[in-house]
């Protein structure tokens, strides 16, 4: 870890001013940043600790029925808020499928959105990485591409965004509240992250110093609560990043789908909303054939970024299965291993 200046601002205005300087980084839960510091992957000159800023740790319902989650709400605290879980079960399932108890206790809402990719070449400072060192090249191309992107990638970067939490959030039209030196603004979560293009080091639309202060879910996002699931395929049955994940939320009336929300995780450089797949389902009968058509539409633009074509069909199956689970209804109690395709049968002992 390099030496850096440590600042603990008392107000949002102080934080934004301190972080607008070149070489500054925000510190919240630290579950990703400290790791990156240790590996020398990021080397900030100044770390701005926002964890003690007042007023950013509340979960509140606003007058228009939307729900506002403060950026410093810990992942575990959000997941265990009974009212939030009742309204947004897929978000909770995603949160509880991520990381470990220790990390969910530390990780924050804002930090989860801005977590960096888990691409092994990004973490290996001996490998070329355009994200770490612009213009250096991409060692992942032609390397081990088993977990690399199949949507939204460019020849300069094939890394994926690994968040679970963001997947149902983007499906449910979450909005990100941002404060910067020039004032505050709202950005839809779907527009927060940038596709890599030829500048993969610029991962979001945030300007220097801009701070995420809250995430809002619109009032109608709760209307999917009866049919909302998150499905996460991973290489072991607990505590691993997704190979592919999907959030599916349906509103079903009189046996027909009147609205559908679908997003994919860990297959693209950003949480990937599948609008075309949603359109396929609107008005359809919720059955396997419709779910397969939706899955085809969700992956229509997918292309392998290496020897990873299997990820495209895998993603289709995860989307179709997430939709089938959503159609079957949100369970009253989440399975012991949230979001797992291998959720144990009732009475099973091994979680």
């Amino acid at each position: 870890m390099n030496r850096f200046e440590y600042i603990r601002p008392a107000t949002i205005a102080e934080a934004v001013a301190a972080a607008a300087a070149p070489g500054a980084a925000y510190l919240a839960g630290g579950t990703n940043l400290i790791d990156l510091l240790k590996g020398g992957i990021v080397r900030p000159e100044r770390v701005v600790d926002v964890t003690r800023l007042p007023g950013l740790d509340a979960i509140e319902t606003l007058a228009d029925g939307s729900v506002r989650i403060g950026a410093l709400v810990r992942n575990a605290d959000l997941a265990h808020d009974p009212d939030f879980a009742h309204r947004f079960p897929a978000v909770v399932e995603a949160l509880l499928s991520g990381a470990s108890a220790q990390l969910r206790n530390a990780a924050t809402v804002g930090g989860n959105l801005l977590q960096r990719t888990r691409c092994a070449y990004f973490y290996d400072v001996a490998s070329a990485c355009n994200k770490r060192t612009p213009g250096a090249g991409c060692a992942a191309r032609g390397g081990d591409t088993r977990l690399a992107a199949v949507l939204g990638w460019s020849e300069h970067c094939i890394a994926t965004h690994p968040s679970d939490f963001c997947v149902p959030l983007v499906a449910l039209d979450a909005v990100v509240e941002i404060v910067g030196t020039a004032g505050s603004r709202d950005v839809p979560l779907e527009s927060l992250h940038r596709l890599p293009g030829d500048t993969p080091a610029r991962e979001s639309v945030l300007e220097p110093g801009e701070l995420i202060v809250a995430v809002r879910l619109p009032a109608d996002a709760a209307s999917f609560a009866a049919h909302a699931r998150y499905l996460k395929l991973r290489e072991r049955t607990s505590y691993a990043f997704a190979v592919v994940s999907a959030a599916a939320a349906l509103r079903i009336e009189h046996g027909a789908i009147v609205a559908a929300r679908i997003a994919l995780g860990s297959v693209a450089p950003k949480p990937w909303r599948a609008h075309a797949a949603e359109a396929v389902l609107t008005g359809a009968h919720p059955d396997r054939a419709a779910f397969r058509r939706a899955a085809e539409a969700a992956l229509a633009d997918a292309t392998p970024s290496g020897d990873n074509g299997f990820r495209i069909e895998l993603s289709r199956r995860v989307v179709a299965r997430a939709l089938a689970r959503a159609a079957a209804g949100t369970p009253a109690r989440l399975p012991a291993l949230p979001a797992s395709p291998f959720a144990p049968a009732p009475g099973g002992l091994h979680a």
Binding site: L27, D35, D49, A99, S238
Partner: protein, 162 residues
Amino acid sequence: MSKHHVTTTINGEETEFLCETQETLLDVLRNTLNLTGSKEGCASGDCGACSVIADGTLVCSCLMLGVEAEGKTITTVEGIADGETLHPVQRQFLEHAALQCGFCTPGFIVATKALLDANPDPTEEEARYWLAGNLCRCTGYDKIIRAVMDAAAEMRGEARAA
């Protein structure tokens, strides 16, 4: 840059220390305060060997800066026993021989204490899910889970689980 002066409560005692910004809480515990029970396994939050309870919450001390401990109340594995009397969790780990090399054990003890403080009557599934962030490469976890379940029963004042 000068060292930071940090005032904190560790295992019930007000504790002051000086640290560099780039030292983690785990570095401070082990190297400055000689509390070497917390271990550095992976140093990246994957193994849980460095688990401590900070303001009532189980966290990895390797992913927290020493300066972040200012004003916080920290419990390490050294603070689990009551003087010479082992905590039921520690006693049950011994009873079940729920360790081999022992490197992961402090993290498991602290994580189990945090679990049982919040949920005195966990199911086996809940215990396994909670402990997913603590890796053991020796025992295969079954003895650990038996120790956790028996410690929970003992702390509830019940007879040993079957």
